[in-house]
């Protein structure tokens, strides 16, 4: 039987933990609101860019439009951009992403290399001896497009130089505050048809397309500008979604931790009361025994 002092110490430490987790929960709650806002703010641009891209793709002769839109017949190398968090204490957020990635790519026939965003993901892949091409960590709390455009550019370069024939993007899809799911998307070559479905979610009015475009200065220049940029934009959006997911996951994890700490605290309080009661009883018995012995003598 533990004594009262021990139990009191444990109650104290559990209460401290609850306090810390509660603070973290509050911090994450405000962060998740901010990153959700940022995520929604980037959507108009993304949806408009998709729209323009689908319009281009609807033009005749699209197969030869741009190297980034061209499918390769022979897939020899695959590159995966995996987005995870820099920090732990976010429940299963980081492990889910990594597990999902490995499930997907472990039994690939061709060599797979990785670009990781976030320290946790890098560490986990590193331990499993995966080939990591580059890593990006310590992203700012609210990254701008400029902050992350290097990631997309690297992927595009690898693709264009032929080091990778397909590029995938693994990130966390933010569904709502309590649900975030790992998701995979093909980044390159860009699949405009697959995206066409999404555009309808975004655009309110579906319009009929007029005749083919006048390009100024030229088709190639414009495509050279819009297509690589659009890949970077997709990476950016994925990062925003993942950030919101990370904060949401952390918020939920911390809420659970606070709840468990409170429950444990209650249980310990009960134990403390029992121990205290017991020690009083035994003291009383001692005194009563002593008194009786005195009276008898």
């Amino acid at each position: 039987m533990p004594n009262t002092r021990e139990v009191r110490l444990r109650i104290k430490s559990v209460q401290n933990i609850a306090q810390v987790t509660q603070a973290l929960q509050a911090v994450s709650a405000s962060k998740v609101r901010k990153s959700m806002q940022a995520m929604y703010d980037t959507r108009p641009y993304a949806s408009k860019a998709w729209q323009v891209l689908t319009h281009i793709a609807a033009q005749p002769g699209r197969d030869t439009l741009h190297p980034l839109l061209t499918k390769r017949a022979d897939i020899k190398n695959v590159l995966v951009v995996m987005i995870s968090g820099d920090r732990g204490l976010a429940g299963a957020y980081n492990t889910n992403i990594v597990r999902f990635t490995l499930q997907h790519f472990n039994d690939y026939q061709v060599p797979v290399s990785y670009i990781t965003v976030g320290r946790k993901g890098r560490e986990m892949l590193f331990r499993r001896r995966k080939k990591i091409l580059a890593e990006f960590s310590n992203l700012p709390a609210a990254p701008t497009f400029v902050d992350v455009s290097a990631i997309g550019r690297l992927a595009v370069d690898e693709f264009l130089e032929g080091h990778a024939d397909e590029v995938f993007l693994v990130y966390s899809d933010f569904i709502n505050l309590v649900r975030q799911e790992p998701a995979i998307k093909k980044l390159l070559p860009l699949e405009v048809e697959a995206g066409a479905q999404r555009v309808e979610d975004y655009t309110r009015v579906e319009r009929k397309l007029a005749a083919s475009y006048i390009y100024e200065p030229g088709q190639t220049q414009i495509l050279d500008k819009i297509v690589p940029r659009f890949s970077s934009l997709q990476v950016y959006q994925a990062i925003m979604e993942s950030l919101a997911s990370e904060h949401a996951a952390r918020m939920v994890a911390m809420k659970n931790a606070t709840d468990s700490a409170t429950a444990l605290g209650d249980a310990l309080q009960l134990e403390y009361n029992q121990v205290r009661q017991q020690s009083i009883t035994s003291e009383m018995l001692d005194i009563a025994g002593g008194a009786e012995a005195l009276a008898r003598s």
């Binding site: 806002q37 083919s212 006048i214 500008k225």
Partner: protein, 152 residues
């Protein structure tokens, strides 16, 4: 019949509304676009984009981007865009002198940094000039979204 105009920058919707004529800084000079224009796709330069509706004009400082024109709608995908009325002159001024100071002190370590700095400088200059020339002290048309985004 006015034409619909939508200007989006990477982090928000900047303008959404109708116009009688839109004047944009195209790659090969300024273009004035009237309703029922033929479909056109073009890149934009640094410059001022003007949206006119019934004698009223709203001006935007654009630092490059893409414009898509359809007969009834103009979509501008700007790298960054700001209503001139929203430009924070003090901050643009500060950004400008910061870059200039840095450039004077030592040459940048690599090309990427240099380009980024040049870009920042160009942007600050554009914003300052736009604010000086076009600002009239009107309230910008409100669109949903947050306050103008951060600069590098």
């Amino acid at each position: 019949m006015p034409i619909r105009v939508e200007i989006v920058s990477q982090d928000r919707m900047v303008f959404e509304g109708d116009a009688d004529i839109v004047i944009v800084p195209g790659e090969q000079g300024e273009m004035g676009i009237l309703p029922n224009h033929a479909p056109l796709l073009s890149t934009l330069q640094f410059g001022i984009l003007k949206v006119r509706l019934q004698g009223e004009e709203e001006d935007f400082a654009i630092s490059g981007g893409i414009i898509e024109i359809q007969p009834d709608i103009i979509t501008v995908l700007a790298d960054s865009a700001e209503n001139v009325e929203e430009i924070d002159v003090a901050r643009a001024e500060a950004a400008k002198s910061r870059v200039e100071e840095y450039l004077e002190k030592e040459p940048p370590p690599d090309t990427d940094t240099y380009l980024a700095m040049e870009e920042a400088l160009k942007r600050s200059n554009l914003r300052l000039e736009a604010a000086r020339k076009y600002r009239l002290g009107r309230q910008p048309t409100q669109v949903s979204g947050r306050v103008p985004g951060e600069e590098v």
